[in-house]
Amino acid sequence: MARAFSIRSQPGFTAIAVACFVALYAPILILVFYSFNAGTSLGNFEGFSLRWFEAAWNNSAVIEASIRSLQIASAAAILATIAATMAALATTRRAPYRGLTFKYAFINQPLMVPEIVTAVALLIFFSRVKVFTGYSGLGYLILAHTAFCIPFAYLPIRARLESMDLTLERAAADLYATPWQTFRRITLPLLWPGLLAGLMLAFVISLDDVVITNFVKSGGQDTLPTYMLGQLRRAITPEMNAISTVFLLLSVLIVTLFFFMSRKQS
């Protein structure tokens, strides 16, 4: 009997797709695998051990960089989400008005410019400001991160706002809620999933940044990625794998959380 003709299949596509998924995950899994290597070599697996995790844990540079990364990412994500939420409220759910396109273009601009260009621009700008003000704290990094996190936070918040039925807010106003009460009791609770998604995206994006941070940071302000970049240019030990594994785990955790939240929503 002839096999049923499948409208959707194309020869070789499934094979390539499967190969693609394997290729996407194999390097990461190998990297994770070698973080448990008992030996010093990256090539030979000499047995299971947590020694490199221990080494990383006892490496004060790693811990300091991690804490700094988390500090910057938290601050930048929160600031970016607040700014993006306000901007999203200002740019959705009404007829187009003068300046709307300008706002879109402006807010999304960090996505359009190559990171390296923004990085050198901030290097030039902040180096002047540092001399001028004498302040050289984490503020510069937080500000820079907030700026490029804004478009990422803006995206899901705007999408959520646009999918929200304006009639609900009208109904609240009809039921004697003032604009502020309507925002507190109706808009904000309904916007919450989008807000959370924006916050997570911004957090992950900030946590991952290496280029801009590398140019903006002052001495002794390494984040985990810039610390790793520095190490990668020297001798590599499985300690790098251990750090990467923990870092990966954190990212995957956040993204998975995000995935299941949005799945539950729809």
């Binding site: 109904a171 009809d174 004697y176 809620a177 309904l190």
Partner: protein, 365 residues
């Protein structure tokens, strides 16, 4: 038809609303005057885009008129935001808050008005009882059926005891049987609460069944206001006659006017007495409308009109007999199937048509 201002719950005076700008500007409402009496079930009826929903939104305060006044018990409310108007709305989509329970939805307006907790609770309980939803108070609004959502929307809008309740096609999402039930339910609620209802619909049957008075709208204007039977039997304009029910249009010449009726000579030469719209003086060539159920098929030669049967459509409760009149016009007679079997007329038969007295109506030109 004019109602004294103090008796009117809602009055619109010369209200216009424009959308778009420049060449694309359209008047959603064009100099609308209407007065809704207190404790009345008033319906705005018309096809989509006729301006009925716009008028409702202006009364609710979701839009603001470009010109004109909207009076609530004689006070202009046009500049007030929706949350300062003692007017509540039942939305077409119900607009129930998805993150609240049934009871929380109903309590919302009362809470916003700052009523004490105890009173809110009592009022919510009363409302739940009124719409027979006591058992589902703690359900999420996504966990109840469409008909139940409809009841919650009603209870929520009625809870703050508004002066006027606005209903924007609230039954359109329900299936036929449920819609019929809710029509009776709405009528009951209006009677029990004594609140003025302004009801928007495009469904003529719904409008006829429920309303004390109906305003027929088209192209941003109100064409006619009247009781259901006035709208149906005494349409003033072709649009009203055509939009509501089925009808036959005949042309003729006014011969004489006597009191409230005029004698019209039809194209076939036959004369008929017809009523005409208040405030007009019929003369010259006019259009006369006769409802299909107001005509009877009779022996050829008898009756007012004569012609040939062109089609017979059997509809269960009654039969439509399509007739090509001798003067070329087309006429439909609706005959109730009072007994079993075929109606006794066949395509090609010569036939006469009799018209009951006092049913013909002359339209405004």
């Amino acid at each position: 038809m004019a109602v004294p201002a103090d008796k009117a719950a809602i009055e619109a005076r010369g209200v216009s609303k424009l959308f778009g700008s420049g060449e694309h500007q359209v008047a959603a409402l064009d100099d609308v005057f209407v007065s809704v009496r207190e404790n009345e079930f008033f319906t705005l009826l018309g096809p989509s885009g006729c301006g009925k929903t716009t008028l409702l939104r202006l009364i609710a305060g979701f839009d603001f008129p470009d010109s004109g006044e909207i009076l609530l018990h004689g006070n202009d409310i046009a500049p007030l935001p929706p949350y300062k108007r003692p007017v509540n709305t039942v939305f077409q989509s119900y607009a129930l808050f998805p993150h609240m329970t049934v009871a929380q939805n109903i309590a919302f307006g009362l809470e916003m008005l700052g009523q004490p907790k105890g009173e809110v609770r009592a009022r919510v309980a009363a409302m739940l009882k009124l719409v027979r939803m006591e058992k589902l108070a703690e359900r999420r609004t996504s966990q109840i059926s469409g008909g139940q959502q409809q009841r919650v929307a009603l209870a929520r809008a009625l809870a703050p005891q508004p002066k006027v309740l606005l209903l924007d096609e609230p039954l359109s999402a329900l299936d036929y049987k449920l819609r019929k039930e809710m029509q009776i339910e709405l009528k009951r609620l209006q009677g029990e609460t004594g609140i003025t209802f302004i009801f928007v619909t495009h469904d003529q049957e719904e409008a006829l069944a429920m309303s004390d008075r109906i305003a027929v709208m088209s192209g941003g204007r109100i064409l006619q206001i009247g009781s259901p039977w006035e709208i149906y039997d005494r349409p003033a304009e072709r649009f009203v006659a055509d939009f509501i029910g089925e009808t036959n249009f005949l042309t003729g010449e006014v011969k004489s006017v006597e009191g409230e009726s005029a004698t019209v000579v039809l194209a076939s030469g036959a004369g008929i007495d017809a009523t005409y719209p208040v405030g007009t003086q019929p003369s010259g060539r006019v259009t006369v409308v006769i409802r299909p159920e107001h005509a009877q098929a009779v022996q050829p030669g008898a009756g007012l009109l004569s012609g040939t049967v062109s089609n017979v459509v059997y509809l269960g409760t009654d039969t439509h007999i399509h007739v090509a009149l001798d003067d070329g016009a087309h006429f439909v007679v609706r005959q109730q199937n009072a007994r079993s079997g075929p109606c006794g007329h066949e395509t090609g038969d010569k036939i006469g048509i009799a018209v009951s007295p006092g049913v013909a109506q002359i339209l405004k030109d």
